[in-house]
Symmetry: C2
Subunit: 140 residues, 2 copies
DNA sequence: GTACTCAGTATCCATTGGTTACTGTCGGCA
DNA sequence: TGCCGACAGTAACCAATGGATACTGAGTAC
């Protein structure tokens, strides 16, 4: 479980309604938004969850992630490396071996992400039910 | 049908390495993945956080979200309505008024999402530092 | 010398997100 | 009577991201 010193976002949110937005999550120019955009891309969250169990190599990740295109996996991993979420080690062997390991920063993210994952698994049923109900209405 | 007596995702993850992937998050055909993709789109998370404080109308959301295109906001809200995360009420007034309210399902998501938001705010500094460090290396 | 492994690139195409302009209704104003 | 503005969107078009498939390069096994 990751303990976080910052004031809770939700409290910021409350006060932020009335005052000028300054350095907050909802300012599109705030770097925090960039962080959210990053986590919210298609694969980053899954990679963090996979690596939270230990280092993996490229082809292992590729296998676990289902149908990810290698180009996209490379992009994702490079971005994550740049963001300090993981490290990339190349072993000078043949065939080549490249190992990806979560940093402390990456590990600190896996807790919150796992919570989202749990929420998703716990609520798929309700969501698909809501979808079929919605689609059953002629107007929609 | 989706069985939902979910053990913690992270535990699943541990065991899942050795056994056949079946109904798990990393199977691209599992509906849970679709849920993650949805939450992981560009705006849904922000909308949930904004609405967790109470109902808002279209133009309020638009204002708070910075520079979101109206088309994209409409798409996002319709999808969320379809997924049962929020309800949409139209008041037959002039000028028209449309109010968006989180459902219980939506509220249940705001906790985990706020944790992610808190993480982001707490770690922007480390991330941007990692980025500049990465970019300072000539090879990258 | 051919085949195979791994970790990617290169090339091209599909889907999503974004920008700008426009619609429809009605009340207020001149 | 005609025009303006508010609100909640659509319509049409363009940019960026994601995805599928084929190919590269080094060296070891056959």
């Amino acid at each position: 479980m990751v303990t976080i010193a910052a004031p809770r976002l939700i409290d910021r949110l409350r006060s932020q309604r009335t005052q000028a937005p300054e350095g907050d999550l909802f300012d599109p120019d705030c770097p925090t938004r960039l962080v959210l955009d990053r986590i919210g891309d298609k694969w980053t969250a899954l990679v963090v969850l996979l690596l939270s169990d230990g280092p993996m190599r490229f082809s292992e990740l590729r296998g676990q992630l289902g149908r990810i295109a290698p180009k996209v996996l490379t992009q994702t991993l490079r971005r994550m490396e740049r963001d300090g979420l993981l490290t990339r080690e190349v072993f000078a062997e043949v065939p080549p071996r490249v190992q990806y390991t979560l940093t402390d920063l990456g590990h600190s993210l896996s807790g919150p992400l796992a919570a989202i994952g749990d929420w998703a698994e716990a609520n798929v049923g309700r969501i698909t039910a809501a979808q079929t109900a919605y689609d059953a209405v002629p107007g929609n």
